[in-house]
Amino acid sequence: MTERPPAFDDLVGDDLAPGERERLQAVHELLLRAGPPPELPPALEQPPTVEAGTLIPFPRRYRFTAVAAAAAIAVVLFGAGYLLGGSGGSPPPLRTVEMRGAGGATASLAVFARDDAGNWPMELTVSGLEPLPAGETYELWLTRGGELAEACGTFAVAAGTTEVPLNAPYRLSAFDGWVVVRAGTATPLLTT
């Protein structure tokens, strides 16, 4: 902590109501007692990588049998999957956000695991939005505090249901919602 702690009167002036003055002074003293929070090194700016699943310990005597059975099942499932669906396939989304709008318009935004570059791949499935004239688009935005905060992409829709791949290079926890607007406007057509 600094050797020159701030004087409370210098910080807040002398025109506070007595009750409020007492309340702020109590906070002032807590700040002095707590001391500064440490600076986070870059390695701690993101939470640790965690596994989606949880390991359930197996009794030791069954462990070999279980491992052998799991390996056999994995081989069978991999072979069946390869034959039926090819070698591709998408991982399941980490989170699916539902959005609704006027006139029965709906959207489902699937957010997948963040890639190594820090981007969140997403897939937006939209239905009920009217197709726009050529050259006009819709936009997906992240919102914070009730305001448009960051754009996540533009897209057009056809009649029926449209699937759109998008990408968000932001820290999603810093936002509190999503909206779809018509490009060039701020009127939300779909909201979370």
Binding site: P6, L11, R33, P37, P38, T162, S173, D176, G177, P188
Partner: protein, 202 residues
């Protein structure tokens, strides 16, 4: 499938107001419940709120900064693993998280006793924390957590005033804002912290 492009929009649209999509921030307890359901966004948010508080707590117990940082990461990994054990009926999320972090830090001290040779004698076991030190740790934890609720334009004013030794005029000069703005932001930030720390002020 259509192709989407991430494009920057005019700055005047960024400030457009859409009032009805705003929701109150989830409580710590709600975040922990969502983490139990494997919600990684909730995990990121809890980490944002508590990373500095956990590291500060670890540094109070583990003098070696590298080991304290490891204990901080281990604490959040433990939160992810054990979030399902959190029971909202038994209290809010902050004390639960504090307990998880304390257990991880104590375990870290137990695992590497040789590294604690330089510790004060009362901390050598890594298990017993004197009451006054425990109280100080909890107070710092709460205050450091509360600082994360401050808006980006208010937090630097508080940190510069309290922990950088700058006067209000020096802060104004440093941040390139009028002195009156510094005073307004300081009052606003202290009031916000008072709201957040209401339990501590009673």
């Amino acid at each position: 499938m259509d192709v989407a492009l991430c494009t920057a929009l005019p700055s005047d649209l960024r400030a457009a107001s859409i009032t009805f999509v705003s929701e109150p921030s989830p409580t710590d307890g709600e975040l922990i419940a969502r983490i139990a359901a494997r919600d990684r966004f909730a995990f990121e948010e809890l980490h944002r709120r508590y990373a500095r508080a956990v590291l500060g707590f670890a540094l109070r117990r583990i003098p070696d900064r590298g080991r304290a940082e490891d204990a901080t990461q281990d604490s959040f990994a433990a939160v992810w693993r054990s979030a399902s054990t959190y029971d909202p009926a038994r209290g809010p999320g902050a004390p639960w998280l504090y307990t998880v972090a304390r257990n991880v830090i104590v375990d870290a001290l137990r695992r590497s006793p040789a590294a604690t040779v330089a510790d004060p004698p009362e901390l050598a076991s890594g298990e017993v924390e004197p009451p006054e030190q425990a109280e100080a740790s909890w107070l710092a934890w709460r205050v450091h957590r509360a600082l994360t609720v401050l808006p980006e334009h208010e937090r630097p004013v508080i940190e510069l005033a309290y922990w950088s030794g700058l006067s209000q005029s020096e802060i104004a000069e440093f941040l390139h804002i009028p002195l009156g703005t510094v005073k307004t932001r300081t009052r606003s930030a202290l009031a916000r912290l008072a709201d957040e720390l209401e339990g501590e002020l009673r």
